[in-house]
Subunit: 129 residues, 4 copies
């Protein structure tokens, strides 16, 4: 039940050390989450317009194991670790040719327009059952 998403490293992702800038891994795993959410049949744009609800990251634990470089083809693997009514914990790896470069635990919540917690969509809560 692992979702897989591939991406390419471009100039915009690198820094002067010649490797991917550390904040950009968070962009990579967010792209993967957006694609994973789409596969669950959730339209994030519709959800925002109709209910004012968006997903937000509440907590992140990340380990930077090996640097990704310009032109690398990377795979992001996303697995659900835990779901309650209000939050979901994902495990996300970024790999290059099978080697894990970056790994994170990400806690996601849903929030409404006033920034308060909202119930996660049923299609998300259903992930663990």
């Amino acid at each position: 039940m692992t979702h897989r998403f591939t991406l390419r490293v471009y100039y915009e992702d690198t820094d002067l050390a010649g490797i991917v800038y550390y904040a950009n891994y968070l962009k990579f795993i967010e792209r993967a989450r957006s694609e994973w959410i789409r596969t669950l049949g959730i339209d994030q744009r519709e959800m925002k317009e109709e209910t004012g609800t968006v997903f937000a990251v509440r907590r992140l634990e990340a380990d930077y194991l090996h640097p990704a470089r310009f032109d690398d083809e990377l795979e992001v693997q996303t697995t659900t670790e835990a779901v309650t009514g209000a939050r979901i914990v994902l495990r996300q790896h970024v790999l290059r040719e099978g080697e894990v470069l970056f790994t994170a635990h990400v806690t996601i919540v849903a929030i409404n327009e006033t920034g308060h917690p909202a119930r996660l969509p049923a299609n998300i809560r259903r992930q663990m059952h």
Copy 2:
């Protein structure tokens, strides 16, 4: 009547070529425009909340003359070139120790929530008089 804004180049701004990534100059000059708009007594957040109006770039002509590097202290100079009821053209330079590294003509419009053109705030239109 030139507005001056200084900024520092950080890791996030550079790419593997060791210089500032070309899209990031647009961030630099947008920061300077936001600070210039503040000096005109316009609160962009209030403007958006109360009237749904935001500024948008319609056209950009940019010349990249010399690269900026990590840790450089840069100055953005912003000058008004022309204003009509609907659009304003700015000239913006990015300098390092007096040397122009980047220069742009930027055409700005105001748009409402549906994306249609809105009248520029009076404090902006007044700039040329």
Copy 3:
């Protein structure tokens, strides 16, 4: 002889106006150029490591016609307009379902490690013939 590249708009690309932040179109068209260069048989990473040469944008003229939004699937079309020994001018469009949202003329040069102009690779110069 138009190169086509598709991409998705993610959260990272948007701003509080709910549309793609204006600097990010430059990222989109740079990704497309990197993929186009790859199709010409040029390995940018190898080029940098072996000869110290990288591509740099010298001039940009861009028109923002309609805003792209979160979750849009966009196509970048890249066409060569002119090539000399030292520089190449590209025309790049960003489209959504056939509608042009953004269009740019981009002048590219090759520069060596000291930042001085280098001869463009033969595979690039050959584009116009």
Copy 4:
């Protein structure tokens, strides 16, 4: 012995939810670390050019408590928690008017050009004594 760094939230930092995009807090705290390193008398550019050494983040634990918004003035507070010969752990808070919005533990190492661990500069190691 807390280092303080202030910054403004600009358009580039926000996303369509109207708040600061989650990856951008990592940019904010990196800017603060760069300024903190400067106050220790370390020139990161010189360090890279002369010894090939750069700082890299090895691990990050981050809690997102309250969202920052466009135009907010934020303060980043940086405190050293632990230093060994090879790594340093920092505690970094992002605050708005005294309220903590974001907090992180960041483990930093020094790496050389081949990506292998290097000894931290003496000025850094000296921080805990």
